[in-house]
């Protein structure tokens, strides 16, 4: 048994090794180390001078958020190809180096480092889940790499003092705030019930809603939080039904969102009373035809009014390629290369510090919607949201919806960073 | 003062009484045999005395001190140890490691009396190994030994601890006839070194080894005395010996 080598022996030989008695061993170890080092050593980071402009795209290609990561890739690739076909940026092609963070914060940090060190990317962009984004945020701020966040709504990504991180999606506490404003308008003095999963994003939305609800004269009649891994909500749905609310705000992690929706509908809550703070295409397919009439928040939907031709074109081409209409996730990821293009052209050179400055002063536009893209001193964007009403769902192919509300507000309309730590 | 004194031992399993007011004393240097049909409570008795099982009532003294409720390792430290009906050695470890583990906790070593280190009651572990003919098997995994070798190893591991009393639960169980002969000889030599408590079905073992015999029937002690007397006792013959080949 190997375990029988006693420590006294090891200590003795360690001493003898230091004294040079076992020189061959030491030499062997050091030369092995040097060989390994030679294999791994690379020249220190040089600014990217020629070849494609590399940007690190760190996203979820495996693990529970696989779908979001892959949807994002689909949108991003489309735009990237278009840009390169049209001549690239600053006369060079744009390349997104995609790495898989496995929906794990630890892996996201490792992947960021890989992109930073081995690919020497000029900027990072990436994940679609909040905790991986927060882990990357720490890395980007520490290593001073510009970091553009396409789809992660957690407010702390743009907390005061943030310098290198810029977020495209409005922050989640704001969504909660505007839901209260919206319901106040639709039915003054409404009674509202909340059902949500114990997850970072949901907590931020709820915090914003609870802040604004008394100011909008809304009453919260029921407030149910489910631990992660819940699978049934019938009892809570019955309790919510018994509290007789005018509206139920529903947001669950993954499939549990749909479980809550269906169980509320089973118990006789009308679709018109149901409000989801956000809805993407697969979610809508899950809700199905029986949910027609319900309301969901969005930042891009093929049912939006007044979409410019570029937006309609994007929807058509995405649908043709992927068999489903895009939602805001794909839209933000589609816009990401264009936002990079605008910022890089503003910076004029491929340099991290210059690119950061360009982001902070850019006045760009989303190519699909024409909405302005500019960031405040913390990297947050002007807040906005649409509320859509679901009209009909056609199997797993498409659905119809109409825009019923649009609102824009300043990020500091509510004390976001006091509400969410 | 007796070496072991058991008073009014009671143990129930559910509704079944396994031991009913069992009284027993044992003097130092004595070899006591315990016999009785299957299910009469012999192993339960050993389990309780050796600390594996709690009693429902009764007290136990070992060398004049109470051992009621003591755990097996505390008893081992005082010199009371046991073997099992199904042989039990560390089958994944080598014979040498088995013996080493057993001598880790030798009584005198723990008590701090370094003088006897490496010796088990006058004999070194090596001498014991030679005596038990294990000295050439040291490197083998204990699990690969024959049953008889394992029985001898078991014995050596107990002796390495310098016990004052060894409780043997069927020491010749499963052995071939020649091996039984040998085992009895070994145990007879052992009698000089420490007290033995032997559970056996094989009457030969009891006749040749025991100074005194106790008979358990359905949890009750029905006889206690010299082997010749007890084995001739009418009740014992009718209820027990009649059923086994003596």
């Amino acid at each position: 048994m190997t375990c029988r080598t006693s420590v006294r022996d090891v200590r003795a030989s360690a001493a003898s090794a230091v004294l040079g008695v076992t020189r061959p061993v030491l030499t062997g170890a050091v030369s092995a180390a040097l060989v390994l080092g030679g294999l791994t050593y690379q020249a220190p980071a040089l600014a990217q001078a020629s070849g494609p402009i590399k940007i690190g795209f760190n996203t979820e290609l495996t693990g529970p958020w696989t779908f979001f990561g892959n949807s994002c890739v689909a949108g991003l690739k489309m735009a990237n190809d278009e840009i390169n076909k049209a001549g690239g940026v600053l006369g060079r092609p744009l390349e997104f180096v995609t790495v898989d963070n496995q929906t794990s914060p630890t892996q996201a940090v490792a992947a960021s480092r890989n992109l930073d060190v081995n690919d020497k990317v000029v900027a990072l962009t990436g994940p679609t889940s909040s905790d991986t984004a927060l882990a990357m945020y720490g890395y980007a701020e520490q290593q001073k790499i510009p970091y553009l966040v396409p789809v992660a709504a957690f407010p702390q990504l743009t907390k005061p003092g943030t310098r290198y991180t810029f977020r495209i999606e409005p922050d989640a506490a704001g969504w909660g705030y505007v839901i209260a404003r919206f319901l106040e308008e639709r039915k003054p003095g409404a009674k509202v019930a909340l059902m949500y999963s114990d997850a970072a994003l949901m907590h931020a939305i709820v915090a914003g809603f609870k802040y604004q609800a008394p100011r909008s004269k809304l009453t919260i009649v029921s407030d149910v939080m489910f631990p992660q891994g819940s699978s049934d909500a019938t009892v809570q749905a019955a309790q919510v039904r018994a509290a007789n609310p005018d509206y139920v705000i529903v947001m669950g992690a993954g499939a549990f969102d749909n479980v809550m929706q269906n169980q509320l509908l089973d118990l006789g809550i009308k679709p018109e009373q149901l409000l989801h703070p956000y809805g993407i295409t697969t979610q809508v397919f899950g809700w199905g035809q029986r949910s027609a009439g319900m309301i969901y928040g969005s930042f891009f939907d093929h049912g939006l009014d007044n979409l410019p031709a570029e937006g309609r074109d994007f929807i058509k081409r995405f649908d043709a390629a992927n068999g489903r209409p895009p939602s805001y996730v794909e839209n933000y990821c589609y816009n990401t290369p264009y936002i990079f293009k605008q910022a890089l052209e503003l910076a004029g050179v491929v340099d991290r510090e210059k690119l950061r400055d360009a982001f902070s002063r850019m006045k760009g536009r989303e190519v699909t919607t024409g909405l302005p893209v500019s960031f405040d001193k913390n990297g947050a964007r002007k807040e906005y949201i649409y509320f859509m009403q679901l009209l009909s769902v056609d199997g797993k192919r498409t659905y119809a919806s109409k825009q019923i509300y649009y609102h824009e507000w300043d990020a500091d309309a509510i004390p976001v960073y006091d509400l969410v730590k | 003062m007796s070496l072991l004194q058991v008073n009014g031992l009671v143990r129930r399993f559910g509704g079944v009484v396994a031991l009913r007011d069992v009284e027993l004393t044992m003097e130092a240097g004595e070899t006591l045999g315990m016999i009785g049909p299957n299910g009469s409570g012999k192993t339960t008795f050993v389990n309780i005395v050796s600390g594996h099982l709690a009693s429902d009532a009764g007290t136990m003294l070992f060398d004049g001190e109470s051992i009621t409720g003591a755990s097996p390792h505390q008893l081992a430290a005082r010199g009371l140890t046991r073997t099992y009906q199904a042989v039990r050695v560390f089958s994944g470890l080598s014979v040498a490691r088995n013996i080493e583990t057993a001598s880790l906790l030798r009584r005198d070593a723990r008590a701090g009396a370094g003088a006897g280190a490496g010796r088990a009651d006058g004999a070194t572990v090596d001498e014991l190994a030679e005596w038990l003919r294990l000295d050439r098997l040291m490197g083998k995994p204990a699990g690969s030994l024959t049953l008889f070798e394992q029985r001898r190893l078991e014995l050596l591991m107990r002796l390495a601890q310098r016990p004052r009393l060894i409780m043997l639960d069927e020491p010749v169980g499963g052995l071939a006839l020649t091996e039984v002969r040998e085992m009895i000889e070994l145990l007879a030599q052992l009698k000089a070194r420490c007290s033995l408590f032997v559970i056996e079905h094989t009457m030969r073992v009891i006749r040749e080894l025991a100074d005194r015999v106790v008979v358990l029937m359905a949890g009750e002690k029905i006889a206690d005395g010299a082997p010749d007397e007890v084995l001739r006792d009418k009740r014992v013959v009718e209820q027990y010996l009649g059923t086994v080949h003596a």
Binding site: M1, A17, A33, P105, V117, E141 | H73, R82
Partner: protein, 320 residues
Amino acid sequence: MSARRWAVALGLLALALPFVLEGNRFLAFVYSIVMIHLIWANGMNLLYGYVGLMPLMFAGVAGVAAYAMIYLTRSHEWSFWLAAPMASLGASLFGVLLGLPSLRLTGFYFTLCSLVIQTVITLAFVFFPTFTNGDTGINQIAPPQAPWGGALSGVWMDETLAIVAVLSVLLCGWIVSTRLGKRFMAIREDDVLAEVLGIDVVRDRIIAFFIVSMFASIGGCLFAVTIGFISPRSFDVLTSLNIWLFVAFGGRGTLIGPIIGTIVLAPIPYLLQELQGFKDVLSGVLIIVVTLLMPGGVWGELLRWRDRRRARRALAVGQT
């Protein structure tokens, strides 16, 4: 070369690698992650390989230590070098508490019990956000202070991890060679027999849980400052299972086995990121093949082959 010289060479190599990998901060990072897992695997091996209990709440204990360390450094402005040992000590006492079921349960029952405990801990991390910030996690965890002022980072942080990892191997080897280690192995082989031979099984199991929780805790604190971000998912049952897998794959109850397991399996998800789902398939196939061909783990099986060959040779010599 003798086994001892090999051990010294490996130790020196482990200590030298951070300087070698300095040129590539990504590989250096992967190396430091492997070192942390090595600390963990050694702890797991002590309990699983030598005492014979498979604790799936291992990561939970590491998490408790990490959160406690962060709380002490953030809210009480303690230095990492004071906070980490204190947090580890506290978490280890907690680990002893979680180990108490082992006094009644052994084998697979204890494993399942620890699985339930780990599930409760993970839920508690999410549900009681005072110390953990819930599902959101804690980001921008400051690196430890360097003795020469400033933050300990880069190659010196990696070197610190390598030193702790090498120490953990040495410590493990030392514990195993002591009377305590021999008692552990006796308990692993047969706890009832160990008790009859005078081993206080209850006390020794408690000691084992304390030592092992210390390994888990120190690894947890170092993990937090190395990654800079932790959330409840950093310390969930999958983390425990992974560490256990390293030990079982390499060979439980040997000093070398867990090192092999960690070095082979731990870097896969980092170095093969481009392979996406294939990398899971690859490591799964690797695990299955090794289990079927080497049920005692890589090193355990190599030792067995060696022993068998020696026995055959001895037999051959005996016959001639």
